[in-house]
Symmetry: C2
Subunit: 343 residues, 2 copies
Amino acid sequence: MRSSLKDVAARAGVSARTVSNVVNGSARVSAETRQRVQEAIDELGYRPNLAARSLRAGRTGIVGLAIPELHSPYFAELAGLLVDEARRRSWTVIIDQTQGDAEAERRLLTGDGGRVMDGLIISPWALGARDLTDTARSLPVVLLGERSPQGLADRVAVDNVAAADEATTHLLAQGRRRIAAIGLQPHLANGTAEQRAEGWRRALRRAGITPRPEWELAVASLHRTDGARAMAHLLDGDTVPDAVFAFSDELALGALHTAHARGVSVPQDLAIVGFDDIEDGRFSNPSLTTVSPDKRQIAQRALQCLADRIYSPRNDLPASDLTIPHRLVVRGTTDPAATAPAH
Amino acid sequence: MRSSLKDVAARAGVSARTVSNVVNGSARVSAETRQRVQEAIDELGYRPNLAARSLRAGRTGIVGLAIPELHSPYFAELAGLLVDEARRRSWTVIIDQTQGDAEAERRLLTGDGGRVMDGLIISPWALGARDLTDTARSLPVVLLGERSPQGLADRVAVDNVAAADEATTHLLAQGRRRIAAIGLQPHLANGTAEQRAEGWRRALRRAGITPRPEWELAVASLHRTDGARAMAHLLDGDTVPDAVFAFSDELALGALHTAHARGVSVPQDLAIVGFDDIEDGRFSNPSLTTVSPDKRQIAQRALQCLADRIYSPRNDLPASDLTIPHRLVVRGTTDPAATAPAH
DNA sequence: CTGAAAGCGCTAACAG
DNA sequence: CTGTTAGCGCTTTCAG
């Protein structure tokens, strides 16, 4: 049986109070007593029971992270950064995968299944932000990507329209005119894809080009397969584009794979820009030009938002809406000169 | 303020006991009472407090997953599968990244910082398995990869020697004779790399080839950069290999990147085999031949082991040592014919 | 079928 | 500086 604080107290011949003080360093304890208590702790292998502590404190020290899927490099990287930053704040992260399922997202937000988390960072996918109405009042929530219309939750995201505009403008600057977009997701309530499409259209129009609807390619998800399929579709069309802006690096890598398999040379015949700056893109052949959001800052800011709410005495903090910086990283899929090995 | 079970009881005009029964379906409650209680629950937005429940039950429903890093595709995939399988068992997963730091691994195992987890799945890196001695008695532990010499913890892993042997034998069958190995990690206590090296040596010897020590390339970590660097080193050597067996897909992809940048054509001049079967390898150019461990089975078995121990009344279960099946997936980096687009 | 009450392990208010 | 004790919210034994 595991030993409790009481056992330690008995063994050291002191009261529970004193043991608690030693463990938490909360009050002054004589060096001698401290020593005796510490010995008892070591001998019994005592470890505080966090469930009891949480019950007492009303806080669990656990924050939730809800993402569509962990195996996507972008989310994996982000999750890794969040776990690290959380540890720095002595928080633990529990991860849930929603698989883009509305029910799963809702369940997390409404806190069904009990209150474990002190706060939740969620990257909504299936769920529209308005579905958050009931929720955010009871649980501090940070939205990644999607803005809450009622301002009920904090939000941390890059400026997707501007970023997509930059990516497209870069392609235009390379002399490309027939620029397709891969990655629309009309079936999702999540507005990110639409914002990127908007930036793409905006840049084209500014260059005097009318965006072709048949070059706005919808995808079921953001995986490499979807990008590969979309690219194949484009290559089978009447007019073949000379550039592609993919809304994620995975889509871009899938497209690159198909181009390669079909004998289309990149970047000569086809330029490609992705979004996310995942590690794979730095080592693909050729390496991938991409929009790089500052992921570490996303992680830091998201946790800061949670901390503000969790430790704030009053819960009338206005919702913050943080825009995270991004930059365009030019590599081999748009620049023939950029063939140097990565790093 | 959040409402507790007592509030619900008061509101419904019943006792706490009855509310508890309704929530857990633990005893027979008249339909009418159940209805009234349910209404009270809905009106008050009651959610059970898991800290209290855990305190009572002596279990938290949380299992820990300790991996070196989440941003590695292999670990990300595995973590995703584990999270899914855990949910199926109504468990929650907390993830810790050890960064291959011995202190971090030890801290997790000794349960410093309190008892939150009902069990721990750990992929040890810095820590030798013998460091587990003190630990596994108090906390159910499953080791991924490393075997515990004292048999104090369950272990789930592929047969690394056999797998490496197969990979190397495949290269030999393609007519390759100058086969290098990338991925030794003499600085780690973790024995996985050494096992793979052993399989590589064994296959070479069987073919009458003496393994060259200078072609056993050590790496600092298993990332693409390390693979890229190792490949560069090989290409700069006196004799250039005609094949490479990399101990991870990331290393292999880094090597592929360097080969491409240096104008070495794959698979004609250089064949490459990786290990892990991460998604990126299916879409690289050319796609990557690799050893594919059954990751879902790893996840399932690991959780099954934990379940057995957590729910077992006695803690004298013998340590199980499960070997997970793997298979060699032949793709473009060893087979010129395999250029068809993925999927 | 339902109520009353003990107690899980810990912290902190109160007393000494 | 240290002991005593109430109570966090829940489950469950014991009565009724």
